[in-house]
């Protein structure tokens, strides 16, 4: 399926061979191969659900493999726990740093292997050594300070220093820069290069393409639980990288057919929602989006680009450091979901289970949940109005449930999603923000939801669509705003709403002024 770089197994420090791993209902890894050489920085990339996390967890002993084997220095290993993996030389640096915040920096650095004399911790020596070691990582702090008093970047350095101190030969970094400032990223990269030169293998997981090209030597691309490509980093250009991650062949950009969307919509009039320079530290950087009646605006971007955050910000569910949202020309005075809903802006959240359904309430109660204030009189629910609404949407959305009294938690994903849509549609909203509306629902329901989106736009609703299904995004949207690292990098309109253009924008869009070589394509 993909071209593989034959690697001499003998020179691999970490060698994952044909590993499969299943969970109830999901095959997370299907015969994955993954090899890392000593002294290289190896990028591991893939979209949501590609299997990166599972692979890391298999390697570090969180999960056990179903099939295949993991070799360290040519010897098969099977770790029972992350601690065993760490003892064997595989350390993981997570984005949430897994150290002990209240303990001193020195204690964290030497945890479980404190220098001691006669069984008593030699704290003077420990502090002295900690200070020296950390200076080597560009962290100049008093090692007696509690870890949590350090900045996140410095904490990460302590974590890395600790990993190296315990003779790690493979260091896995999972999104290490997600909460770091630019200067801290530079320090991190310096340290990574130094580790590489010492012969340590680094597995680098990140969605930031610029970083990958800056620091990584080789890359393994995963998709749908399989390894789809292994290559020198420099030999894969950005467009190709994205095409491989998303599973799209560049020469085969289909136009129509896979989705239930019809043609473009008539877009009319003034924007109903104007989001102006939405800003939130580390998440959104002055994102502005307008939504017009009858228009479906797609949000494009890779994982972590700020798509969901943008939707949540507009819906009043994400606290903002700056920016404003106006509906029908009137700025929302309070930034809250209730205010947004009252103004007619509603959002279908990405995670249906944790943010959407109320599992123990009935379908009926779930549908009218947000509409309660409108169908209540004197604190009592008007049953007539309630049944009217429920009946109407049961029919219109073809919700399959034994009765409106059935608990929502017992429905299939697709029907739960329809209930969620009904919850919002019964409010007669002006703008509907859809975050992954068809994720995890079956094909039939997916087509229904897609044609519903179409219909709603035709009826004059302003729609914002977020989808990691490229076809859905491109065919469903009249216009696509492309985000990268929380910033807008491109806007595709008209004929430019195409896979080719989107992937180019994803690859080339240059959000950060400091980023270097953006001209790979």
């Amino acid at each position: 399926m993909a071209q593989r770089q034959p690697a001499d197994p003998a020179q691999l420090v970490l060698d994952v061979r044909s590993v499969s791993k299943s969970f109830p209902g999901v095959r997370a890894l299907r015969g994955v191969d993954f090899g890392v050489r000593p002294g290289e920085v190896h990028a591991l990339v893939g979209e949501n659900g590609a299997g990166k996390s599972t692979l890391i967890k298999v390697v570090t002993g969180v999960y056990q493999v179903d099939e295949g084997e993991v070799r360290l220095d040519g010897r098969p290993v099977a770790f029972g726990s992350p601690l065993e993996a760490q003892d064997a030389g595989i350390s993981t640096i997570y984005q949430e740093i897994n150290l002990i915040p209240l303990m001193s920096v020195a204690r964290n650095l030497f945890l479980n292997r404190e220098p001691s004399r006669f069984g008593v911790i030699d704290s003077a020596r420990m502090k002295r050594e900690a200070y020296e070691i950390l200076r080597g990582y560009g962290v100049d702090v008093n090692p007696s300070r509690p870890l949590r008093s350090l900045g996140l970047g410095a904490q990460q350095m302590v974590a890395i220093a600790r990993a190296v101190q315990i003779d790690a030969r493979v260091v896995i970094m999972d999104e290490p820069t997600s909460s770091l400032e630019t200067r801290e990223v530079e320090t991190l990269f310096r340290v990574i290069r130094r580790l590489r030169d010492q012969g340590i293998a680094i597995v680098y997981v990140s969605h930031r393409l610029d970083e990958l090209y800056e620091i990584c030597d080789r890359v393994t691309i995963m998709r749908d639980g399989e390894t789809v490509h292994v290559d020198e980093m420099a030999r894969v250009d950005r467009l190709q990288l994205i095409a491989l991650m998303l599973g799209r062949d560049l020469t085969d950009v289909r136009q129509h057919g896979a989705t239930a969307f019809a043609a473009d919509h008539d877009v009319a009039g003034e924007p109903v929602v104007r989001a102006h320079e939405l800003h939130r530290a580390h998440q959104l950087d002055k994102v502005s989006v307008d939504l017009r009646p009858g228009e479906v605006v797609g949000l494009g971007g890779l994982l972590g680009s700020g798509r969901s955050e943008t939707a949540r910000a507009i819906a009043g569910a994400l606290p903002l450091d700056g920016g404003s949202v106006a509906v029908g020309g009137v700025p929302l005075r309070r930034h809250s979901t209730a205010a947004a809903i009252r103004a007619g802006v509603v959002m279908l959240p990405e995670d249906r289970k944790s943010d959407g359904i109320i599992p123990n309430l009935s379908v009926r109660e779930n549908i009218v949940l947000a509409a309660l204030p409108r169908i209540s009189r004197a604190g009592l629910v008007d049953k007539g109005k309630q049944d009217e609404i429920v009946e109407f949407f049961f029919e219109r959305l073809r919700i399959k449930a034994s009765s409106p009294a059935q608990k929502v938690g017992e429905l299939s994903g697709g029907n739960q999603q329809k209930v969620m849509l009904a919850r919002w549609l019964c409010l007669n909203p002006k703008a509907l923000l859809l975050d992954e509306p068809t994720r995890g629902i079956d094909v039939g329901a997916k087509a229904e939801v897609q044609s519903l989106i179409d219909e709603l736009a035709k009826e004059g609703l302003a729609v914002m669509l977020i989808s990691s299904d490229l076809e859905e995004l491109i065919e469903g949207s009249d216009r696509i705003v492309v985000l990268k690292e929380g910033r807008m990098v491109a806007e595709l309109t008209g004929d430019a709403v195409s896979q080719g253009a989107l992937m180019t924008a994803l690859a080339e869009g240059d959000p950060s002024p400091t980023a270097g070589d953006g001209a790979q394509a």
Partner: protein
């Protein structure tokens, strides 16, 4: 990224039968247990079914029941209210201080004090986002101290006829406090089942994040249930003062939070929130009272009572867990 998205549907596993048994137990176990206890006691002593015995059990069970109803509302929001015992003490401290203004006035002041303490608890939980157990534990300690301070540690005897009537007398043969408690049961059932607020309460308890995203007044709901719990606890304090004929802030309400939680849990309301069993809570309080009566009337050592209660709580929670599979 996280491939562990594995939507592990709570698939009914092999132990379907076990699940069904546990489900039945959680749903109806407490009623069955009440029948069994009544049968045993009647067999041992037919006079257990006498009106007189009924009155005695009523007077002892009603204060716990009233507190448990408020507790059930709080638990339905996935919270807990440990301050109820201390609120009882506060009520008993306030009553003698305000009796000079009349019995009704002193009762109202006690209820207002309960409401204020609920407002404080609810405020901490809803706005300051303090964990319910922490917020109400702090109140539990603080309010008890305040109650003792306000009134002195000594008990004060009460001879007010209205209060004593609430504690000891009947209307048409039904103890006054039972009449009031039944009215409250009906109100709580109505609120929970029929009103918009009840709907919001269940939604907030079941999925707070989703409720907030749906624009529900999450904070108002939370504050309201803690206020309700505070008022009901204060009412229990009024009953206790009336029944004992004296007010004793240092000792009144001790361990009431535990009795109330037990009644709620035994009655089948899950601690995980989103559901409430009002009649179950009534049954839970009745059941716990019958346990006490059975043990004392048969002169079984009190220390066994605590052990029996512990076993019942564990059993009830186990039945609830085994059923919901969460």
């Amino acid at each position: 990224m996280s491939t562990g998205t594995a939507e592990v549907s709570a698939a009914p596993k092999a132990g379907l039968n076990k699940g069904r048994v546990l489900g039945w137990l959680q749903e109806y176990g407490v009623y069955a247990a009440i029948v069994v206890l009544l049968a045993i006691n009647t067999a041992l002593k037919p006079s257990f079914l006498s009106v007189e015995n009924f009155r005695v059990q009523t007077f002892q069970a009603v204060p716990v029941l009233v507190v448990a109803l408020g507790m059930a509302l709080v638990i339905a929001t996935e919270g807990i209210d440990l301050s109820v015992g201390a609120v009882i003490a506060v009520a008993s401290a306030v009553i003698p201080l305000y009796l000079g203004y009349g019995s009704i006035a002193s009762i109202l002041v006690a209820l207002v004090a309960g409401a204020l303490s609920g407002l404080l608890a609810g405020g901490m939980v809803a706005f300051a986002r303090v964990q319910p157990i922490v917020a109400t534990l702090a109140l539990m300690i603080g309010l008890r101290g305040l109650a003792v301070m306000a009134n002195g540690a000594t008990a004060k005897s009460i001879s007010d006829p209205v209060l004593l009537g609430l504690g000891l007398n009947s209307w048409l043969g039904v103890p006054q406090m039972l009449v009031i408690a039944l009215v409250i049961v009906v109100i709580v059932m109505f609120v929970v089942r029929r009103t918009t607020f009840g709907r919001q309460l269940m939604a907030v308890g079941d999925n707070r994040a989703a409720s907030a995203l749906s624009g529900l007044p999450v904070r108002r709901v939370l504050v309201t249930v803690y206020v309700a719990s505070g008022v009901l606890a204060a009412l229990a304090g009024v009953f206790l003062v009336g029944h004992g004929g004296y007010a004793d802030p240092a000792n009144y309400g001790l361990n009431y939070e535990l009795s109330a939680i037990t009644a709620v849990v035994v009655g089948g309301t899950p601690l995980s929130g989103g559901r409430i069993r009002v009649l179950g809570t009534v049954a839970g309080a009745v059941f716990m009272q019958l346990i006490t009566a059975t043990l004392i009337q048969n002169n079984i050592k009190n220390s066994y009572e605590q052990m029996v209660e512990a076993v019942i709580i564990v059993g009830a929670v186990y039945a609830a867990r085994g059923r919901s599979g969460r």
